[in-house]
Each structure stands twice: as C-alpha cells, then as structure tokens.
Symmetry: C2
Subunit: 561 residues, 2 copies
C-alpha cells in the first residue's frame, strides 16, 4: 500500500437511513448512539474497518447523528455512546487508512474528527445533551479520545478491557484528536502518569484507570447495563436543557445542492471555483423575506428558517471545499441582501435564547464560524455595494484574514448604487465566540479596549467605508479607482506564496489572546502532529506508521529535534 490512495470526492451529507456504522435510538430523555462499524464499509478501498476502527466516512455519520440529536430530538438530555461489538469499544482511527493516506488527507481527517469531538463537548456544555461514554470493551487511541470528549466515562471492569493511547509506541505518531490535551487539561491526569499511560500500548483498566482519572468509573460486567442506564438517567435528570414537555424536533431535511467542477450552489450560499486563480468565490445571501413574527413561526419554518438554512449550507460548503478542493487556497467571501432583515433574524434568535431551537441555531452558527476559523485557507472579505455584512453575516468579515471595503461606488458600472455599509449588531457582541472564548471583535481589538468600545458603540447603524476603516472594522477601504488593482494584487499575491507558510501564519494570527482546550488542540497539538505525520519516522517507507502490522520494526532517525 502506498500513499497513492485513490481519493474520492467526499459528500458530507447523510441521514440515519443511510448510516452503515452507527445506530441512533432515542427513548425519552436518553438516546443511545451505538458504534457498529461495517468492516467493508470504508470510504476508500484498501482497508477493512476492523474492531470498530474508523475512517472519515464513519465520522461523517457520527457528526450527522450529533447534529440531528440537537435539532430532531430536543427531548434528549443524555446520550450514551457505546459499541455494538463484543468486548471492544473502538480501536480508533484505522491504521491502514492513515498509513496509506496522503498528508493532506490525514490532516483534514484529524481536523474534522476534532471538530466533531468539540461538537460533542458543546452539546454537553451548551445544550444540556450530556454525553456518557459507555466503554463496554477496550477503547484505544481515537476510540479513547472519543470517550474523552464525553462528560462521563464508564469502563467495563473485566480484567481485559482498558483504555489506551498506543499511538506513540505502536505508530510513532501522537494521539491526534485532542487526547494529550484532554488528558491533562480536562481530566487532570497527572502529567507523569499521563506520560507513562501514553507509552503503554496495552493501556490501563479497572481501578487503576479510575485512580489515575483516565475514566470515571469501572463497572463489573454483571452490573454493566443497569449501571449505564442508571447513570444516563442521572445525567438526564441533571440536564438544564430548556425544553418543555412535548417539545417537538424539527427535521433536518436534505440539503439542496448543485455541484459541478466550477460551481457549488445552495439556496442561500454559492461558490464559484476558479482553478486558474486558485480561488473559491463564496457568496452568502441574506434572507429572502422578513423575519417570522414569533418564535412559534421559527419552529414552523424549521430547517427553512433562514439562519439555520444558511448555516447548514455554509457548513457543508466549508467541509466540501476543505476536503475536495485542496488547491483553492484563497476563499473570497462576499455577502448580499438586506441588513435590516439579517438584524431582524438575529434579533428573533437572541430574544428567544431560552427557546431550545433558537438556542440550537445560534450554537450551530457559532460552531460553523469556528470551523471557518480553523480552515487552512486564506480568507479575504470583499465588502461592496449591495453586500450585507451585518450582524451574524459580519462575522464572516471578522473571521477573514483581511477585508477590503469599497469607498463610494463603482462609478462605471453602477454609479447610482448605495455605497457599501456594514453593521455591527448584537450577534457580534457575545453569542458567537471563537475557540479562544472571545468574540471576533474582542480578538480583533485585543489589548485595545478603546477601539473595541468605539466599534461597539456604533452597533445598530450602517457604517460606510471611511468610517469602517477608521474604526478598524475593515483592513483597507480603497476607492473605485484603486479597488480592482488592490484586490487583484491581494488575491494573486496570496496564490503565489507558500501554502504551508500561509497555513502557519494564519494559524498563529487567528488565535491571539487567551488559549483554551480548543485552541490548544488546533494550535499546539495539531501543529506537532502535522510535523510528526510528515516526518520519515512516521510516514517514510521505514516509518512506524507504514510498518505497523508488517512484522518489521520501524527504522528511526534517532536524532532528537
């Protein structure tokens, strides 16, 4: 097997009827998500998904299930994550897949997997859907890392089941989906014990796993089902999920999507793929009509409600471009529509944050914007007449590495247009924090409280280019005469730089300020893993990842770097 693994065009859309690897069962306040991976169901030919090991396809289903639980099953307050196999929870990411995959596939796979685990933590923390890992057998590597994303970890105590992070001793790589960070920073395993644990490929089980804080409880097999059920009920009872009796979910209906080699169209979002310039030109459009007059109408509109529909489309587009279009290194972000309408939709959600659906929509938008933040593409926002960088949509410009705003109008093509304006709204002042825990405005004005206050003070009204530049809300505000040239140079220049150096630059600049579990995972841990993945000691012909299972030992360059 070589790294010429044939890479498919990946589609992230699925639904429970199509699942091959997971079962989702809801029973009142408790749902059970059972991992039962189909060995022959790999996304790419060339490997078997033995022992509940997973590849991107398995994780796409998990992501879908976690999302549907939040929108389609509002009554669920605790989710039991368990395995349908006998004596094994999950062997983690499939090793043969990893060994065969080219570097960008590995990195993209880990990123999406990380985002899904973060989404599980967000469901527990923000949504009152608390995840419980019921490890009915050994959880290794990514299998244990999945458990680490859960609030409570139960391990069957049967003298053979264990949790482990065998990546270092067996594969010469790191646990790549947050394991190292969560062990010390979330579960507070002592760092020297954590060190020992990560070198012990057979793992640790039973009482020692509890004493070392690797799991929360070890339960004999005889009491397993009963204890898991009891714990799930307890967690459900403690949930603060704001759902009244008889709450009815909304259906996440199939996304309408037209995709060709040069264009991707949804209802509110579209992208033109310009391969010559290595650019994706993305446009997000505001609502077509006015906001519903009541939260009941939001429920009635369901997946058709603009904010939710737009977010789902943007989410799918980010994943599609990230995975399938590696050479489109710059994303140009535009918006269109009416500022008043976007503000009204935002306001409807913000006025009803105690309504489960309004809350879920905001949380989903938050997660999707975070996905943008960790995307390894240069993001340029273009703010032109007719654009709608307002409230929730202004976040796109604030997420961008740079923004250009036209001062005045395009004199030749549309002299009568209204000049571009952007609007800071309540959605920019708190409900959509980045992974570092700050709003994008706070991150932008880090250490400059006066500038932050000045920008926040202008909330609610349109801000034109000169003002926006003076307030620091946009990077540059060229006029009609300079616009084409400045934008062209910015885009062409970006396409001429080293893609690797851009990824590193952006990963550093985008997360100024405080660090969190999330930023540590995407910053520190991911960066080290990328380096290790790329080094011959892991991925060379004699590297540990490639030699695993061949009976041959890896041949390492012994120099410590």
């Amino acid at each position: 097997m070589t790294s010429d693994m044939p890479l498919p065009q990946v589609d992230f859309r699925t639904d429970p009827a199509q699942y091959r690897h997971w079962r989702l069962e809801c029973a009142g306040p408790v749902a059970t998500l059972t991992m039962d991976v189909a060995e022959q169901g790999g996304l790419v030919p060339g490997y078997d998904l033995k022992l509940n090991s997973y590849d991107l396809g398995v994780d796409i289903e998990l992501y879908d299930a976690v999302q549907r639980l939040r929108f389609e099953h509002p009554e669920v307050r605790a989710v039991v994550l368990t395995s349908g196999k006998d004596k094994v929870f999950s062997a983690g990411a499939n090793i043969r897949m990893l060994a065969a995959a080219p570097h960008p596939w590995k990195v993209n796979f880990c990123k999406f997997t990380n985002e899904t685990r973060n989404g599980i933590e967000d469901a527990t923390a923000s949504s009152g859907q608390t995840y419980l890992a019921a490890l009915n057998g050994t959880a290794s590597g990514g299998g244990y890392e999945l458990a680490l994303a859960c609030e409570h970890i139960m391990l069957v105590d049967d003298r053979s089941s264990a949790v482990s992070l065998p990546e270092l001793p067996l594969l010469g790589v790191l646990p790549g989906t947050g394991g190292l960070t969560r062990v010390t920073d979330k579960r507070h395993v002592r760092r020297d014990l954590a060190d020992y644990f990560a070198t012990k490929s057979e793992g640790i089980g039973g009482k020692k796993a509890v004493a070392w804080r690797l799991v929360d409880e070890a339960v004999p097999r005889g009491q397993w089902a009963e204890t898991v059920a009891q714990r799930a009920e307890e967690l459900a009872a403690q949930s603060t999920r704001p759902v009244g009796p008889g709450a009815k979910g909304i259906e996440l209906t199939p996304l309408a999507k037209d995709r060709t080699g040069s264009q991707i169209d949804y209802t509110h979002v579209s992208a033109r793929l310009d391969r010559d310039r290595r650019v994706a030109e993305i446009t997000v459009r505001g609502p077509d009509g006015s906001a519903p007059g009541s939260i009941e109408q939001v429920h009635e509109q369901g997946a058709g409600f603009w904010t939710l529909a737009m977010t789902r489309e943007l989410d799918d587009l980010i994943l599609d471009l990230r995975t399938n279009e590696l050479e489109l290194g710059t994303w140009v972000l535009r918006t269109g529509g009416g500022a008043e309408q976007v503000l009204a939709f935002d306001q409807m959600l913000l006025d009803h944050r105690d309504d489960w659906l309004a809350s879920e929509i905001l949380l989903y938008l938050k997660r999707t914007l975070k996905r943008l933040d960790v995307t390894s593409r240069s993001l340029l926002a273009l703010i032109e007449p007719g654009s709608c960088f307002t409230g929730s949509l202004l976040e796109l410009a604030l997420a961008a590495d740079r923004s250009y705003m036209l001062a005045g109008v395009f004199e030749e093509t549309d002299p009568e247009a209204e000049p571009a304006a952007l609007t800071v709204g309540p959605a920019n002042l708190g409900p959509l924090p980045m992974g570092n825990g700050l709003t994008r405005l706070q991150t932008r004005f880090l250490g400059d409280p006066d500038a932050l206050a000045a920008a926040e003070k202008r909330a609610g009204g349109p801000i034109q280019a000169e003002d926006a530049e003076r307030l620091g809300l946009v990077t540059f505000a060229p006029d009609d005469i300079d616009w084409d040239e400045e934008v062209r140079i910015a885009v062409e220049e970006r396409a001429s730089f080293s893609p690797d150096a851009l990824t590193g630059l952006e990963a550093n600049y985008r997360f100024a300020g405080p660090e969190t579990l999330e930023t540590k995972i995407f910053g520190r841990l991911t960066a080290w893993q990328n380096w290790i993945f790329y080094r011959p000691n892991a991925s060379g012909p004699d590297g540990a990842l490639r030699r695993y299972g061949t009976g041959q030992r890896a041949d390492f360059d012994r120099k410590r770097v």
Copy 2:
C-alpha cells in the same frame, strides 16, 4: 550548497574580550549593546554574515552579553540595542545558513534564539534592566523579532528604513523567533494589519509603522542620537531595579569544564554520555559547605556561590547536550548532597530577594529550569539514597517527564544507607515558575487543589518513597527488588520510541494549564515552524528557502493542508 553543512562542536562559553559581533558599553545607568556582525565570522563555513545577519555564533555572544549585564553591571537600568552598521539594523537570521542547515540545527538555533529573546524580556520585566531597540536602519525578519523583545522600539524615520517580516513572501517559512506571537499578543497589532505586514517583504516604516503599533516611535535622523539618549535616560529613571548607589557587580568567571566524548565534568554538575543506550546520565550535586551567613558573603563568593555556580554549569550543559548530542534522547537526572544545605542556600536567596544579586541568581535559575522544560529530550529523574532532591534541586524531578524513587535501600550494595527522601521547600512554592506562569507543583497538580495543598503542607521535612508516591510527588516508588528492572525498561523503552513522537508528546504534556506568550511561542509557533521547515515547499531542492537568491522562483506544491 546542500544540507550537508559541516556541523561544529558548539561551545556556548564566551566573554566580551572574545566577541566578534557585538560591542558592550556601559555608561552609568545606560548600557549600549551594538550589533556589528563580522561578515567572515560565521560559526560554520559557507556563508557570509552580511548586513548584520546572524547565526548561532552571533546569538551566543548576545546571550552572554545579556547575562553579564545582569550580573556584572548591576548599575545598568536601561540597555540600548542598536546597530554598528550604516542604515541597517539587522537583516535577521542568515538565510544561506538556514537554507544549508539540517533540520535539527534549524530547530535548535531557533530555540536558543527564542530563549535569548525571552531572557531580554525577563531582564525588562523582572530585573529593571529595560531594553530599548534603537533601529537606526531597517530591521528585517529576525532583526525585527529581536526588536520585538525590547520594551520600546524606535525606528529612524528617513523614508527608507523599515521594519519587516519577509519570511513568508521571500522564504516560504514563518518568522520563527516569536514574531507572529509578539506582534498580536504583545504589541496588539490588529490581526488583519499584521497579516498584511507579514506579506509585505519591503516592510513598513515611518508614521504608518507607529500607527499600526509595529514600533513605538519614528524619529528623524537629525534628532536620532539625542532622542535615543533621552529615551534611554527616561527608561532608566523609571526602572525599579533594586540597586543602591555604588552597587558592584560580580564577575562571571570562566566556567571550568572538562569534556571528552563520553563525559562532561564541571564543579557541581557532571554528565556521562552513554551512546549505546542513547542516554546522558546527569548528576547535580548540592553545596560542598554550608551556606554563607550573610548576603554580603554571597556577594563576596560571587560566581563561586553554589546556586549561581551550579546554575551556570547546568545551563551550559543543557545547551551543550542539546546542540552537540542529538542522539542522546533521554536525560537521566540524579542529584547528590545534603538537603539541609540546599535549603539553607535557597533560604539565603529568598530572604534577600530585594538584594539585586540574590534576585538575579533566582531569576537565572528560573530561566535555566525553563530551558530544561523546552528541551526536546525525555527527562527521567532517579531518586536514590544519597540523592538531594530538595528545594531548588527538587525542581529537576518536577521538570522530569517521570520520576522513580527507591522505596527502602539497595540491600546488596548499601544496606546501611539512609533511604532516599525528597524535600519540598519554599523554592518550590513560587519563585521558580514555568513558562505557563505556574510553579511546577501547580502544573503537576493542575485541577487538583487538594493534592497540591497536601504536598505543600509537607514542605520543610523529608518525604520518603511511599509517602512521596502517595502524595503524587513521584511517579513510581519501586523497591530494591524491582528497581533495576523498572528503570532499565523505562530507559530502553524510551530509546526505542520515535524521537519525533516523543518530542511532540512531551511538548504537549509539559505545558498543561494556562498559556502565555512564552508557551505560545514554544508550543504553537515553534511547532508550525518545524513543520514548515521540514516541508519541500521550504527546504526541498525547489523550495523557497533553498532557492532564495538564485534568481529562480520556488516551485510549490499548491495543496493547502
């Protein structure tokens, strides 16, 4: 030029009489450190150090000068860092050197350079020696990053001088010595402006550099000397350096060091280099006699005072092994000596923290232990009878990835020995924080305040193995029967793992908890830079770093990862 650059055995010991690249002049409270790099003075043949570009040799002198200022020139309260060249401050790290250097050399060079910049910031923040960057010409890349480590940056305003970070556009790598982190997190340059700045190879000067916060002031050439002098006086006047009139420095006398291919010996520190096992066995010995009775005697002893002497030796050893012994992947740390004496030396320093020398010695020990924390070697502490893991020396065990403490004695070889004991002292409770701002004990017991309190409560008295293990102060406490086997397996296992994966594992585990500028630089920024350095887009035959100056453009793999 290929990456077969001949690598010298590097000696980090130097003194002002030997400097080839720097001039150090002290005039009362203001010192001037002038960079005037000898073009032909490269540490390795094959490149010229044009335009005040630097290599490791230049930085070794800078490190020495910064150290000597603190110990030999206590009267200095402001340090002007400037250039002896006309119209150029510094072109940064020498590109031909970087292009030719093998990967570990690049990484080690950046790490040492980072540590020296951090030391400059520590002098400003902790020591009242405030650094002022007087950029009398363009400061590019590492040259500007050196300025970023200073408290105040002045740039001559002459329409040609600028500051710049041209690494990304010219070389396809990152500014590798803290630039990206300091621009946003220290100087609070807005991230979109910072993005633009890092793509603009010619840099930014004059008023715009001030408006964007890249420098603090732009001064016309006509007023340059006068304004720099005035600013230096102001900074000196604001300094809180605890130095009375007539304070006399101590001389950092030459370090006595014996080095062979298998052994390095200083007075209090020694290391046996075991190439077969890929281990350096390091022993640090406590004081020979009792602590001086007064702070005046500490001044009299000067560089002979045990804590300072031991720290200098340890510092030199860390640098020597890190640079010259890449394949010794595990450092086994032992100590010897009397606990009471170490506690007394610690106490002498802690009782006189308002004395400049006592303060400097503690700060230097702090920096040296931080150097250990960021060292990419596995650290195992062995706590045996006769050892002296007490107070300041206990930090070595707390810095280790794991520690083994013998329960009881070696029955066959020394049955009458006193069983090993370790002692928590005041030095462990605050004065020696890690880069994350926490003590090593706090980091160890992150999220476990009860365990921290229990350990702190035992401060002052000896703690034997069973107790130490129960308190979580050591990882394992095997008895005589298991000791040899357990330790042997730990060492052999470590040597069998992928060196890269160990580096990544340790870099993640060692910095649990809060992040700071320092941990971001060594964690996030360094990890990305390592990855980028290793990728063909930078270091391949067609990469930007290798092609720089050849007239040929780099040929990039365009995939964004």
